[in-house]
């Protein structure tokens, strides 16, 4: 565990406690609390906090791995097809659910979102996994193809999602879709934790397997291959790892953007800047960011709770602009 991981683990411990105590009803750690404090903690705040940690960890680790793979500090795992495809799957479930028995309908959203993520992963692997026979494709062709295939999938999924919104079966469904796409952890329970946690842990584990290969990419694609990196294996690990972490997050919470972009930048100054040293700390820092943001949107004095996805975009977009300014000044 490196310095960054220790710092963010400690911060996460503090934020986790604050997140359990804060909300519309403040629960004092010592002394008298509301009558149903135990119920609020066990059934509302604890699953929501755990889900925030799980989703943030997945997005943070995914961001670190994606930036390492693309060798680009402005990359975000949500931009490359898998998140939009997962969102498309989830939106499609609003059509399918009414046709299913109630027991199945309850699972249609996460299942179809994960199916969308899997289709996105398959599409990315199919297109970007192709290498040219003359060897010039190698990792280089793979990375360029990965970017283009991801953008193509994202555009296609975005267009189909917009179409689905336009053709919403009824105003209620339209409202549900739009709200869901904005991302939130409101009213999530242990059921969502049960869906997202194993997939996210598995995804982070897969990304960790790619860590040393991502380090080798620091020197460029030919040098990485000369160090023994197999471009196809690396692509496969990336697609599966990102698919699991991002897909799981979208399946239970909707689109929550910018975490994967922001977090590696918070972590990098505390590490030796190699991708392998970023993945675990970025998972912890992502957990911190989502947990903190979710706690803040919960206590803001709005009539309706601000959607987490919107809040993180409000933070993320200016942060992205700041990164661009730094890049223009050659400091990134």
């Amino acid at each position: 565990m490196n310095r960054a991981a220790i710092v963010f683990a400690a911060l996460l411990a503090v934020l986790a406690v604050l997140s359990l105590l804060a909300g519309r009803v403040w629960i004092a750690p010592f002394g008298d609390g509301p009558q149903n404090a135990a119920l609020i903690l066990a059934e509302l705040r604890l699953p929501r906090a755990v889900l925030a940690v799980v989703i943030g960890a997945g997005l943070g680790a995914g961001g670190a791995a994606m930036q390492g793979y693309l060798r680009n500090p402005l990359a975000d795992p949500g931009l490359f097809g898998i998140a939009p495809m997962a969102a498309l799957g989830a939106v499609a479930s609003f059509w399918v659910a009414p046709l299913l028995p109630a027991a199945l309908a309850a699972w249609s959203l996460p299942v179809m979102a994960l199916t969308g993520a899997a289709l996105g992963m398959g599409g990315l692997a199919l297109i970007a996994g192709r290498t040219t026979s003359d060897g010039a494709g190698g990792a280089g062709g793979g990375i360029a193809l990965f970017t283009l295939a991801g953008l193509m999938l994202a555009s296609l999924a975005g267009a189909l999602t917009a179409l689905a919104i336009t053709l919403a079966p009824n105003p209620f469904a339209l409202s549900e879709i739009v709200l869901w796409l904005n991302g939130a952890l409101t009213d999530r329970s242990w059921r969502e934790v049960g869906i997202a946690a194993p997939l996210t842990v598995a995804g982070i584990g897969v990304l960790a397997l790619a860590a040393k290969s991502l380090d080798a990419l620091t020197l460029g694609e030919d040098a990485a291959r000369s160090l023994g990196v197999d471009p196809r294996r690396l692509l496969g690990l990336l697609v599966i790892g990102i698919g699991l972490t991002v897909g799981a997050g979208v399946a239970v919470a909707g689109i929550i953007g910018f975490v994967g972009l922001i977090v590696p930048h918070l972590v990098r100054p505390l590490t030796d800047r190699l991708p392998s040293s970023l993945i675990l700390p970025s998972a912890l820092a992502g957990a911190c960011l989502v947990l903190a943001a979710d706690s803040i949107v919960r206590v803001l004095p709005f009539v309706t709770e601000l959607r987490l996805g919107i809040a993180l975009s409000l933070i993320g977009a200016p942060f992205f602009g700041w990164l661009l300014v730094r890049m223009r000044r050659g400091r990134l």
Binding site: S133, D134, G135, K212, L219, S226, V229, D230
Partner: protein, 246 residues
């Protein structure tokens, strides 16, 4: 011995090397020279096992590179691309330690030895963005050396270096060769090849048109024929200069 047997290479659907047969011996410096587009970098990539031959084969001590595992090949052959872009602003020590990736160890002793060999001890904590061109070239070579490869293949490692740094890097490569490692480098500077290489491969339009000791492979009349310029060597052996004109 690193051997190319009837090697044909294609890139982007175009033939870049055609029917090339050559043997490179360890313990000396082999220079690969030729005009732009002659296929030098492609040949070096194939010798490193990074470009799959369209025909023929490359073998290392009798074993085809294609039959070796990627890791085994990476342990045996260190490849230094031409002025690679370094994606992250890592420290010198971290960058040099990347050479240990094929061995899956930290290789502290080997990293220290590589840093010491290239006089980089004082720079170990410096971010690579704050290195001069000469320092950067030394760090990149140290990265290859830390992997203790039997062969060092470098694509124009001396390009963009001033004379002092260039001579220092040549001295390091000669030391590697003297220690028994194989060294093959792509060069554009024919005087460097003449003065420092033990063996020269001359490529033209994807074909090997000459090979042998520098004085033979780089005879003035061959330079005229391949590069299309009038050329004459001046000076004494080991300190020769090339005078050119049209």
């Amino acid at each position: 011995m690193l051997t190319a047997e009837n090697l044909t290479l294609r890139r982007g659907g175009r033939s870049v090397v055609e029917g090339l047969t050559a043997s490179l011996a360890p313990g000396g410096i082999t220079a690969i020279v030729g005009p732009n587009g002659a296929g030098k970098s492609s040949l070096l990539l194939a010798l490193a096992g990074l470009l799959e031959p369209a025909g023929g084969a490359v073998s290392l001590d009798g074993t085809a590179l294609g039959a070796m595992t990627a890791r085994g090949r990476a342990q045996a052959i260190g490849y230094l691309p031409q002025s690679p872009d370094i994606a992250w602003d890592v420290s010198v020590a971290s960058l040099v330690a990347l050479g240990r990736l094929p061995w899956r160890d930290r290789g502290s002793a080997e990293v220290e030895a590589a840093l010491a060999a290239l006089d980089l001890g004082a720079l170990r904590h410096r971010p690579v963005s704050r290195l001069s061109g000469g320092e950067r070239a030394r760090v990149l070579l140290a990265r290859v050396l830390s992997g203790c490869p039997r062969w060092i293949l470098a694509d124009e490692p001396l390009a963009a270096l001033d004379l002092g740094h260039r001579d220092a890097l040549v001295a390091h490569l000669k030391a590697c060769a003297a220690a028994g490692q194989g060294v093959a480098i792509v060069l554009h500077d024919l005087a460097l090849a003449m003065n420092h290489a033990d063996h020269v491969l001359v490529l033209d339009e994807g074909r090997l048109v000459a090979e042998g000791p520098p004085a033979v492979a780089l005879a003035a009349e061959r330079i005229t024929r391949v590069w299309g310029i009038d050329a004459a060597w001046v000076g004494e052996p080991g300190r020769r200069g090339l005078v050119t004109g049209r």
